[in-house]
Each structure stands twice: as C-alpha cells, then as structure tokens.
C-alpha cells in the first residue's frame, strides 16, 4: 500500500532520522578527543537532507493515506529547521568541549529532534502531530540536561520534562476530544466532517482549546511560558539557542497547520482567547525582561515576547482575507528572529566562560572597546530584536503589525507598539553596557562561533535592504488548505 511517492514525501525526515541512527553507531568508533568528526558528520547529514528538501520543494503531495503532507509551508519550515540545526552544531562544537560534556550523542539527539520538527511541519493527522511532538521533545529533555554533572542543567531538564510531559498530555486529550467530536483523526477527514456540519461543536471547540494549551507550551506563550527562563538558563547555551529558534518555529508550524486547516470555523470562539494570549505574552515577556540583569534570562523573556508578536498576527487565523499574510508574515518573522536570536546566543556563548555562571550585564562591560566587532554585532542583534529600521527585525515586526491592522486588531497592535518601546530599553541596555562601561573582558573566540556571529549580523543587515527576497519565499510557502 505504500507508494514510492509516500516515501518521497517524507524522504528528508527519514534521511535525518536514519543518519542520526547511523551516526549513533559510527560514533562508538570515534575517540573522545575527535568528536569534531561527529559534529562534521551530523552537519553533513543535515546538509544532505537540506538538499533533498530543496529538490522536492514546490511539490504538493499528500502521502501515507493523507497522514503527511508535503507543501510549500513544510518545505520552508524544514529549511529553517535544518539550517538551525547546522548553526546549532557549529555553536556546540567548541562549547561542549569547553564545558567538558563532549559526547557524540549530543549531535545524534539534536538530529532526532530536528527529524521530529520536520515531521511536525508535515503532519496531517492528529496522531502524527502527537508523535512528532514527542519525537522533537524527548531529545530536547536530554539535551537540556546534557551538562549532566551540573545542577542547573539537571534541574532545567527535570522541570522541562515534567512540564513538557504534562503539556503533551493536553495534546493527547485534545486529540481524543476531536476524535470523538468528528470520528476522524486525519485533517482531510476532520475538515470534511466539519464542512458537512456533522461535528459536535462543543467537544470540537474544547479539543481545539486543549491543543492550544499544548502548542502554547511549546511556543512559550503566556500563561504557559514559565518554563522558558529556567530552561533557557539551565540548558547548555547552544541547546538554548537551538530551542529558542527551532522549537519555537516547530510550535508555530504545528499551531498554524492545525488551526488553519482544522479550526477556521471556530475562529469566532478562538479569536478572543488568542487575542488575550497574544496581549499577555507581549506584555509579560517584555515587562519581565526589563527586570533582568542576567543575559540568558533576559533573552528568554525576549523570546517569549517575540512569540507574542507572532501571535498578534496569528489572531487573524480565521479571517480568510488576511490569513495568507499571516502565514507569510509569521514565516518571515521566524527567519528574522532566528537569525537575530542565533547571533545573540552565539555572543552569549563567546562570553560564557564557565558553565552555569550566569552572564550578568556587568560581564559585558568593555567588550565594545576591546572587541569592537563583537560589540557592533551585538548592537545589530539588539536593534533587530527591538525592531529598529534597517534590520530584519524591523521588517518582521512591520509585517506582523500590518497584518494585525489589516485584520482590524488595532488595539492589539497598539499593545504591541507600546511593549516594543519597553523592549528597546532592555535591548539597548545591553549595548550601553558593552560600549559605555569600562571593563577588561578576556574572551576566547572560536572560529565557528565567530562565523555564526558574522554571518548572522551581515544577514540581519543586508537582508533588511532586500526584505522582499525572504518575503516572496514566505508568501509562496502558503499552506495547503482544505
């Protein structure tokens, strides 16, 4: 019953998972001090998968009895995940040596997590969504606790796991309710039942709300955000960087796919909930970030706030006229935010000398003077986070705000605007400490990490001059809607 086209539709996912398995075995023969080879092999595997994703993009296929879908949206997301993975490998290579947690499984687990995310972007069946969620989460629980001997890491891992298991439980509950409301599990079937009007609307709605809880946890939307700072702070920094970009993107991939395909008919009921969630996320994330002097925690809150901006555009998911813009704006923002975020976290990696010794603002003092390029790069990232013009962050925010205004959520846009002002303060504070406070920092800069910083900074600046390139790609990556 399995056709070649089915295999073709999830080939990149299988490549990543299969490669990870092979790597697990191969790694046994790679001596401890040569783990760089494992990193390289992992990166090659991701690159090969990337090649296949690019080659198969542009097709639209429903595979495996409509359990998975390959479309522009999934291809766009998969490119994002794979590139994030490669960046994370580059960031981790030196870091895990320095922190003395140099084990090959690190890369293997990361690849499995990426496979889970890729599957998430393709899932077209609620059971697949649940599986993909577990697939991407479990490796992350391990990665978070990868600095096994460190209290912070262990603690973060445990918290993340306990809350994560709790939250994925809600996805399962939601799936059960939607199944009993419609008698279907795959999106095609559910959508058909909903269109026919024979779904039980109460159960369907509660099911949707429960799914929202589960996904809200993954994207760290308020009030499901609390794990974020603890986990971001405790996890090894490359893992944090990976989480802040890829996991968030995967969460949004699931949210968009499920909500846009299954729940447009519920938008009347879900929109107020999303509105409140978006507003709270922007407000809480930005305001709490003001009170942080630990960079990792500050970035964690900023990650929450950015999820809020995306949610702001997402509120309009049921509005057929702007939904295309919502998707495009979200994808664009994920790219802009991803570039910026990786850059900022890479700088944190450079500055972090000892595991778990949180980096405080004071540790940044003098970097602008002694390492001007790092300082300038950080300036670029912070401006981009704050959404200042001539950075990708500005365009990202602009598209999101525009979508919100188009859909008529002007109140929400104003909340977003005001919180952006607050955010400028804590982002620029970083710059002030770097450039305006005296200090004698001593940094060891790994070439791979500086490559990430340099490329990210240039991309944030240069792509902002030609934002249409990414926007065009994002607009083409519209989902296959039922």
């Amino acid at each position: 019953m399995t056709r070649m086209i089915d295999i073709y539709s999830i080939l990149p996912v299988m490549i990543v998972a299969g490669w990870a398995l092979l790597l697990l075995v191969v790694d046994l023969w790679i001596p401890r001090h040569r783990k760089g080879i494992t990193a390289l092999l992992a990166a090659i595997g991701l690159a090969i998968a990337l090649g296949f994703v690019l080659a198969s993009s542009g097709n639209t296929i429903l595979g495996f009895n409509q359990m998975v879908v390959l479309d522009g949206f999934s291809s766009f997301m998969q490119v994002l995940f794979l590139v994030s993975g490669m960046v994370a490998v580059a960031l981790a290579y030196d870091y895990i040596q320095r922190m003395n947690i140099n084990h090959g499984e690190f890369y293997v687990l990361m690849m499995f997590s990426i496979a889970g995310m890729m599957l998430m972007s393709q899932a077209y069946n609620l059971l697949m969504v649940f599986l993909a969620l577990e697939l991407l989460s479990i490796p992350l629980y391990v990665l978070t606790g990868f600095a096994r001997t460190r209290l912070e890491s262990e603690e973060a891992s445990l918290k993340y796991f306990l809350l994560g298991a709790f939250a994925s439980g809600f996805v399962l509950y939601g799936t059960a309710l939607i199944f009993s409301a419609t008698g279907q599990l795959d999106f095609v079937g559910i959508a058909a039942v909903v269109t026919a009007g024979s779904a039980n609307s109460v159960l369907f709605l509660i099911g949707a709300a429960l799914l929202l809880v589960g996904f809200g946890f993954k994207i760290a939307a308020v009030p499901f955000q609390m794990w974020t700072p603890d986990v971001y702070q405790g996890a090894p920094t490359p893992v944090t960087a990976f989480m802040s970009v890829a996991v968030k993107a995967a969460g949004f991939a699931a949210l968009m796919r499920v909500f846009l395909v299954l729940f447009p008919s519920l938008s009347e009921h879900l929109t107020p909930i999303l509105w409140v969630m978006a507003a709270l996320t922007m407000i809480v994330g930005n305001i709490v970030a003001l009170a942080q002097n630990n960079i990792k925690r500050m970035l964690a809150y900023s990650a929450i706030a950015h999820a809020g901006y995306i949610l702001m555009a997402f509120v309009a998911f049921g509005n057929g006229e702007v939904v295309g813009n919502t998707v495009a704006a979200t994808l664009f923002y994920l790219v802009a935010y991803g570039l910026t975020s990786f850059g900022a976290w890479a700088l944190v990696i450079v500055i972090e000398r000892e595991y778990g010794k949180g980096i405080l603002l004071d540790d940044l003092a003098g970097i602008g003077k002694h390492y001007p390029w790092l300082g300038v790069a950080m300036l670029v990232f912070m401006l981009s986070f704050a959404g200042v013009p001539l950075t990708m962050g500005f365009w990202g925010k602009f598209y999101l705000f525009r979508t919100a205004v188009q859909a008529g959520y002007i109140g929400l846009a104003i909340i977003g605007l005001l919180t952006s002002v607050a955010s400028a303060y804590y982002y620029l504070r970083v710059v002030v400490y770097m450039f305006m406070k005296p200090g004698e920092p001593k940094l060891q800069i790994n070439p791979w990490v500086s490559l990430v910083i340099g490329v990210a900074a240039l991309a944030v600046l240069l792509l902002s001059l030609i934002p249409w390139t990414i926007l065009e790609l994002a607009s083409r990556a519209v989902l296959l809607l039922q």
Binding site: L131, I138, L151, E154, L158, T175, D230, N293
Partner: protein, 130 residues
C-alpha cells in the same frame, strides 16, 4: 457504566494533578502516570463502549455487524507505548537528578530562578536610567 468510567477517569485525573503538585520528584512522576491512565480512559471513551465484540474479522462470517471501533484502540496503543517510553526515561532522569543534586525535593530546585535578587537588580537598573 459510562458514569462509573467517567468518575474513575476524573478521580485518576484529580489524583494525578494532586500528585504533580507535591514536592517529591517521584510523586510528580507518579502523578504524570496517573494522568496517562486518565488519558487512556478518555480515549477509550471516544467511541461507544461495547462489550464482547472485539474488532476482529471472523474467517467464516466476515465483518461482524456489531464491533468496537478499532481506531481509538490503535490510538491508545500508541499512547500506552509512548507513555511507557517516557516513564522509563523519566525514571532515569530522576535518578540522575537525584545523583547530581542529592535531593528529591523540587523545592530545593529553583537555583535557576533569581527572583530573590530582583530588589538589588532593580536598584542597579534605576541608577542606570534616572
């Protein structure tokens, strides 16, 4: 029967939540297991409960006229297996955490949170802008 089943699931869920709110790591894990049981019951209930009619195809008669819905069963199978994997992983994780932190008390685990310092941070930050 439905009603009893619902009560059972409700009690399991409530007990699960109560356990998750304890301080002991192991108890929290037990709570998650209880929630898993509740989830299985919920899934099982998603199709009508039918006694003594498993979804089997009789070699002679063919498809029976009355049968239990096989789809939720398949779903629960997946859920059970995954929750077992997760449990095994959790046990090891807790064991590890205990070995590293020397405590099974979650209340001793908030060193990543620094709200206690926030007064001091605030006064620093105020100096900066005013």
């Amino acid at each position: 029967m439905l009603f009893l089943m619902a009560i059972a699931a409700g009690v399991l869920f409530a007990a699960g939540i109560f356990m998750i709110l304890r301080r002991s790591m192991v108890k929290v894990l037990v709570g998650i297991l209880l929630l898993g049981y509740a989830a299985n019951l919920l899934l099982f209930n998603a199709a009508p409960l039918i006694r003594g009619a498993p979804p089997l195809i009789d070699p002679v008669i063919g498809v029976p006229t009355v049968y239990a819905d096989p789809v939720p069963q398949a779903l629960i199978l997946t859920a059970i297996v995954i929750s077992f994997g997760v449990t095994a992983f959790a046990v090891v994780l807790i064991r590890r955490a205990y070995a590293v932190t020397g405590t099974g008390d979650l209340d001793n685990m908030h060193c990543t949170d620094i709200p206690c310092e926030s007064e001091e941070i605030l006064s620093d930050l105020e100096d900066e802008i005013l």
